[in-house]
Structures are given as structure tokens and as C-alpha cells.
């Protein structure tokens, strides 16, 4: 006999609950802080200032010139990749927190558990949208903006959200059993961040004397980067917001493949662990 709880009228995925939980996240996020939503912008601004000062001025990092936008400023090059990374980081860590922090709810009330990471991802999508909107505004005032890329920015944001959600589902579910997954993920994300050309130009991966790529454990680092989804995602946002042109279909295909894989693996693992969450949390 299978362990199922049947109902005569099977309810659909409760979209309204998803919406309400997203609102809860958004409303709760900056309550009781003077700046409120200002924090949502201040945080990346300060991060941007620090990285620009350290890498742009002290290390004299030179970004590739924007083609065809003509922008040639480290801070704009940095921010278009950095915002995408932060969104990813928040999505994954938020998913872990959403299960760990709602144990009370999970133990007492039934609803599809995946709603919790999903709602967190959506709330970060809103923050991300605000940040991107601010960036576009600043670009329009101080540099230039090609409005034709905007529809694809939306698609890219949703794609990245789903990619991070898939990974978030995976780690948040495993974290129910092993609580140190949370800390492990934090460390892994840090390594991942510096392993992705976000603060540095990927040209630095080439040895200036020999003109060849560096190797890690005998493997060409650029090959490793090609397998790094975030290399492609940060690249996509740079294509759209820094170079301000459309990506190739091939590049979009790669991103869709990464996202699909992440969502598939994430939801399979999540579904396996879901029935026991109420007991294990």
C-alpha cells in the first residue's frame, strides 16, 4: 500500500499563499529600520564603492570596453555582474533560512513546503528588480541605455531566480537533516564568488607571459568557467546592461539548460525529503 493522503478535491498549488508569504517576506524585511527599503539599495552601493576602490583604484583593474555601448568604467562593469551574484546568493541562503526559520509552521500546518523557498526567491526578485531599475536609471543619466535589452533583462532575472531556487531547494532540503549544510553553503558560495570573474576581468585568467590560460589540477581554467553557471549568468547581465546588446541564442540555451538541471535536481531531492520535514525540523 502506498503512503498517500488522498483528497477528493485535490487543491492546486496555492498561488495565493505563495503571494501572501512573499508579501510577508517583503513587509517583514526592513520593518523597524529607519532607512527601510533604502537598505536594499545602500547595501549594494557600499559593496560597489568598496570593490571599486580596492580593485578599480588600488589594483587598477581595467574592464573591457562596452561594445557597442561604449561605456568604459569599472564600477558599471562590476555592478552589472555583482547585482546578479548577490541575487543568486540571497536566493540560495534565503531558501535555507525559509525552512529552518519556519519550523513552527511546517510542524503544525500542511501546505506544499516548496512554497517557503519559492516565496523567499520571489521577495528577493523584487529587491533585485529595484536594484536593476536604479542601475538603469543611473545608466540613463550618466552613461547610456539601450531600451531594447529591457525585455531580456526581465527574462534573465526570472531565469536566474529559478536557477538559484533549484539550488536553494536542494540545499535547504538537505539542511533539514544536516544543519551544517548552511555553513558549508556559505563557504562554498564565497569560493564560488571569487572563482567567478565578477570583481576581476576574465582576461586575468590568461598568463600574460605565455598567452595561455592558467590550469587548475591540469584543467584549463576557462573550461572550468564554461561549466560554471554563474560565469554565464553574470556574463549575461553584463551583455545586457554593460555592453547593452542581445546575447546569442547559444548563450541563452546554455542558461536554460543550467536552470532546468538545477530546478529538476532541486525539486527531486526536495520532494523526497518533504514528507519527513515536519518530524526532522
Amino acid at each position: 500500500m502506498t503512503a498517500t493522503a488522498r483528497r477528493r478535491k485535490r487543491p492546486d498549488y496555492p498561488l495565493e499563499l505563495l503571494w501572501n508569504l512573499t508579501l510577508r517576506e517583503l513587509r517583514g524585511k526592513y520593518k523597524r529600520s529607519i532607512l527601510g527599503w533604502g537598505w536594499s539599495l545602500l547595501n549594494p552601493l557600499v559593496q560597489l564603492a568598496v570593490y571599486s576602490a580596492v580593485f578599480g583604484i588600488l589594483f587598477k583593474a581595467t574592464p573591457p570596453p562596452g561594445d557597442p555601448s561604449g561605456i568604459h568604467a569599472y564600477s558599471f562593469w562590476l555592478v552589472s555582474g555583482l547585482l546578479a551574484w548577490n541575487f543568486h546568493l540571497n536566493g540560495v541562503m534565503g531558501a535555507i533560512g525559509s525552512l529552518a526559520g519556519n519550523g513552527n509552521l511546517i510542524r503544525k500546518v500542511y501546505f506544499p513546503r516548496s512554497i517557503l523557498p519559492f516565496a523567499t526567491s520571489l521577495s528577493w526578485l523584487v529587491s533585485f528588480a529595484i536594484e536593476i531599475a536604479a542601475l538603469i536609471l543611473i545608466l540613463a543619466v550618466f552613461q547610456t541605455i539601450n531600451l531594447a535589452v529591457l525585455p531580456l533583462v526581465v527574462v534573465a532575472a526570472v531565469l536566474l531566480m529559478l536557477f538559484s531556487l533549484g539550488l536553494g531547494l536542494l540545499v535547504s532540503a538537505v539542511n533539514v537533516y544536516f544543519r551544517d549544510i548552511e555553513y558549508l553553503t556559505q563557504i562554498a558560495l564565497q569560493v564560488w564568488f571569487f572563482g567567478t570573474p565578477i570583481v576581476y576581468n576574465e582576461k586575468l585568467l590568461t598568463n600574460p607571459k605565455t598567452g595561455l590560460h592558467y590550469h587548475l589540477l591540469g584543467i584549463d581554467v576557462l573550461t572550468i568557467e564554461k561549466l560554471n553557471p554563474m560565469y554565464h549568468f553574470t556574463g549575461l547581465f553584463r551583455t545586457l546592461l554593460y555592453h547593452q546588446t542581445w546575447p546569442t541564442f547559444g548563450e541563452i540555451g546554455v542558461l536554460v539548460a543550467f536552470t532546468a538541471t538545477s530546478l529538476l535536481v532541486g525539486s527531486i531531492v526536495f520532494r523526497r525529503i518533504e514528507p519527513r520535514m515536519a518530524e526532522e525540523l
Partner: protein, 433 residues
């Protein structure tokens, strides 16, 4: 064991019959199939894992080469029953018998390993009131959030909001963040949401005691309205008399198995009989051991000994029926007190309700050891657990020299004539006049 099951009933037809039959229950304690079941619980079993080590980190798992070792604990073992639509159904049993786990299986927070549960209708569970409230959000925002967790749409909440707020008595505070609520307000709002989401089926786990008396009354009214309107209720409790009053049917769970099912009165009586025979057995064992020390006795500084005895045998007594008498006896050192002493005994039900307070009316002092007895020829109380206090006072009762709370506890067992409930057991004569 199986002698009780009808021999020709080789292929039982309903889950509850099969479940009951496999445990060899008497046919009278067998709950038949429901004509129009709202809930069908069909042979569910659930094991819990009890981990041997508390440390369940990844490191520990890697070091061991496998996941944490655990033992399995069978919380629910092959439980089947059907709940008739429009009735109130009780899950009764001692702590750890699996009744709450069964309820959680019905709510789907816990999934049984085997067996199926079919629920027809919208359920609302009064399990954790206010689960999912966000402390920083206002009461109003939390109502919408909580209602949508319970499966209600925004339009429905809009229509019900005033009713919910009024029921919770929070009109003035509804736009305040719930972190500023008192625990009572919090629970009241949670209850108001849960009961106002228009459920067909209400699941209740021992939360009937929320809020003050006024709110309790409102809740009970709401339950009654809900029942009258044809709602189905499943209640979990170990409060026997409450269950007898409110439930139509009940199942008795013991170690995860159903040991009795039927009308709530039958099930509870069955249980009390069982408890009673167990107690008699234990009392016999104790006397057989020759253990002289009475558990129903205590000593203080001035009070040398206070004890409760059986009226006839003069043995320490822990359980008796309403027709048996008892003696409350206190021995105190009147010289140590230095003056005459009045004695007072108080009897309390285990929920703290005072049954009676009895005063000797005179004072006595008789050397170093004075013994005062109160003899009660009957114990006119309904079945339940009671405790006895003793206090010694001066003659005017203005000064209390010493008091010992709960020096004795006793159980009033049901007598043969069980057609009664409440607090007091009057001796009665029934006839057609």
C-alpha cells in the same frame, strides 16, 4: 484473542471492522462503518526515528560513514476508523499513545508510512494557534496570511474579517504589530482565524482552554453552532469527562493501537474498567510486598503525620468508589504549637477546583501528640483524581500554624451505576412517580 470475532466474518467489509477485528476487540466495542464518512482512516502506521546521538552533523555522519543511527518507535500501529459526517469524534488515550500523531496524519503534516487517509471537505486544525504569525506584521496582515495558510481566499477573508476581529475582541489592536500582543491576544486571534475559515471539518488538540472565561464561553458557543450546522469535529484529549460530554464516538488508543472504539460513553467506561482492575492488581501487589510506608501520608514541623485511610480497613487508601468511606487523620504536636488547634481539611479536584473545605469547628490540644480524625462515611464524588490539603489554625482561625498541600491524592473510581457525570455523586432513587 480472536475468539471474540465472529467466525463467519472472514472478509470484513470496512476498515474499522478489520482494524478492530485484528485486535480481537469485543463486538460491542466495535465501531461500524460510517454511512457518509467525512474522514476515512484506513490502516495507517507511522514510525518515528529516535536518534541515538544528539549530534547529527555532517561531520558526525562522515566520520561514521553513514547517517545517524536511530531506533524506530511505532507511534501509530495499524489504526483504522471512519468519522461520520456531522458528528464529533474523540481520540482518547494517555500521553504518548499516538493520538496526536494520528491527528497530525489527518492534517497531513505527518505522512503515515502505510495506509491511506481520505478526507472529504475543508479542514481546519486548531493545533497551533497563530502558527505562522509574523511578529512585525499587524494583526490584520497576519489574519490574511494565516487564513491563506489555512486555504482561504482573499475575497473570503475580506468578507469574514470583521467577524474574526470581533470574535477575537481585538478591534482596537488589529493594526498593531502582533509582537505587541499579549499571549492571550495572540492565541485568541489564532483561534478566531482557524474557526472562521468555514471549515467542514475541525480538528482540535487540547486547545479548548484558551483565553479567559468569557472567551471560553464564546468558543464553546462557536463549537456548538458549528456542530449544529452539521460540521464534523475530531478532538484529541485525555480529559475523559469532557470527551464523554462532547463526543458522539471515540476510539481508545494505547501504544499506537486501537483498543476500543464505539460510542464515547462505552469507550471511556471500558477504559475506566481497565484502569480500575489494574489499580486493584497493583494494590494487591503492594500489600503482598508488605510495604508499610503509605504514599498518602506526609509530615511537617508541627504536623507529625497527615494521612488518608480507608474507613473500614484503616489501610492507606489511594482509590475508592463513591460508596466507600474514608478517614482523614492528622497528628500534630500541640505543645510545639503552644495553644489549642483547629483542624481544616480541603479536597480539590486535579484541575484545582475546590470540592470542599471542612473545619473541625472546635480546637484541641492534648499533649505532644494530638490526633484529629475526620470520618466521611461516603465519598460522594464523580470519578476523577483528587488531592487533600490539611491546615492547623488557632481557635479564631485568624492564624495558620501550618499547612501541607496535597498530602494525599486519591482516585474516585466509577461504580457500577455509571449513568451520571458532573462533580458530585448524589445518592439517588429513580422511579416513575
Amino acid at each position: 484473542m480472536n475468539a471474540m470475532t465472529p467466525p463467519d466474518d472472514s472478509r470484513p467489509t470496512t476498515p474499522s471492522e478489520r482494524g478492530a477485528a485484528s485486535h480481537g476487540l469485543e463486538p460491542s466495542l466495535l465501531l461500524g462503518p460510517a454511512k457518509d464518512p467525512a474522514i476515512i482512516v484506513d490502516h495507517i502506521s507511522k514510525k518515528f526515528r529516535i536518534y541515538d546521538e544528539r549530534n547529527r552533523s555532517l561531520k558526525a555522519a562522515v566520520m561514521r560513514g553513514r547517517r545517524a543511527r536511530f531506533q524506530e518507535f511505532q507511534a501509530v500501529d495499524d489504526v483504522s476508523f471512519e468519522v461520520e459526517r456531522g458528528t464529533t469524534f474523540g481520540l482518547v488515550g494517555e500521553n504518548g499513545c499516538g493520538k496526536s500523531t494520528t491527528l497530525k496524519c489527518i492534517t497531513r503534516t505527518i505522512r503515515p508510512e502505510t495506509g491511506t487517509i481520505t478526507v472529504d471537505g475543508r479542514m481546519s486544525a486548531l493545533l497551533e494557534l497563530g502558527a505562522g504569525f509574523h511578529p512585525e506584521l499587524s494583526g490584520r496582515e497576519n489574519v490574511y496570511l494565516n487564513a491563506s495558510i489555512l486555504g482561504m481566499r482573499k475575497r473570503e477573508v475580506d468578507a469574514k474579517l470583521d467577524e474574526i476581529v470581533e470574535f477575537a475582541g481585538l478591534e482596537r489592536f488589529i493594526d498593531m504589530p502582533v509582537k505587541n500582543y499579549s499571549s492571550g491576544m495572540y492565541v485568541r486571534l489564532g483561534f478566531a482565524v482557524a474557526i472562521n475559515v468555514n471549515p467542514d471539518i475541525l480538528l482540535v488538540d487540547e486547545v479548548l482552554a484558551v483565553g479567559d472565561e468569557e472567551f471560553q464561553r464564546k468558543c464553546n458557543e462557536k463549537f456548538a453552532t458549528f456542530r449544529d450546522a452539521g460540521g464534523t469535529i475530531v478532538v484529541v484529549s485525555h480529559g475523559l469527562e469532557v470527551m464523554r460530554d462532547i463526543c458522539d464516538h471515540a476510539v481508545w488508543l494505547e501504544h499506537g493501537r486501537i483498543t476500543a472504539s464505539g460510542t464515547s460513553g462505552d469507550v471511556i467506561d471500558h477504559y475506566l474498567d481497565m484502569v480500575r482492575s489494574e489499580r486493584i492488581e497493583r494494590a494487591r501487589e503492594r500489600i503482598g510486598d508488605g510495604a508499610g510506608a503509605s504514599p498518602n501520608a506526609a509530615t511537617g514541623t508541627n504536623i507529625v503525620r497527615a494521612e488518608m485511610l480507608h474507613a473500614d480497613t484503616r489501610d492507606p487508601v489511594e482509590s475508592l468508589t463513591a460508596t466507600e468511606g474514608f478517614v482523614l487523620r492528622v497528628t500534630f504536636d500541640a505543645e510545639a504549637v503552644g495553644e489549642d488547634v483547629r483542624t481544616n481539611f480541603g479536597i480539590y479536584r486535579d484541575d484545582g477546583q475546590r470540592v470542599g473545605s471542612f473545619n473541625s469547628g472546635w480546637s484541641a490540644a492534648d499533649g505532644p501528640l494530638t490526633t484529629v480524625e475526620m470520618v466521611a462515611p461516603r465519598c460522594p464524588l464523580q470519578p476523577g483524581t483528587y488531592a487533600v490539603n490539611v491546615a492547623i489554625h488557632d481557635h479564631s482561625m485568624l492564624q495558620e500554624f501550618e499547612r501541607i498541600d496535597k498530602f494525599a491524592r486519591f482516585e474516585v473510581l466509577p461504580s457500577e451505576d455509571r449513568h451520571q457525570s458532573g462533580m458530585v455523586d448524589f445518592s439517588q432513587i429513580w422511579r416513575t412517580a
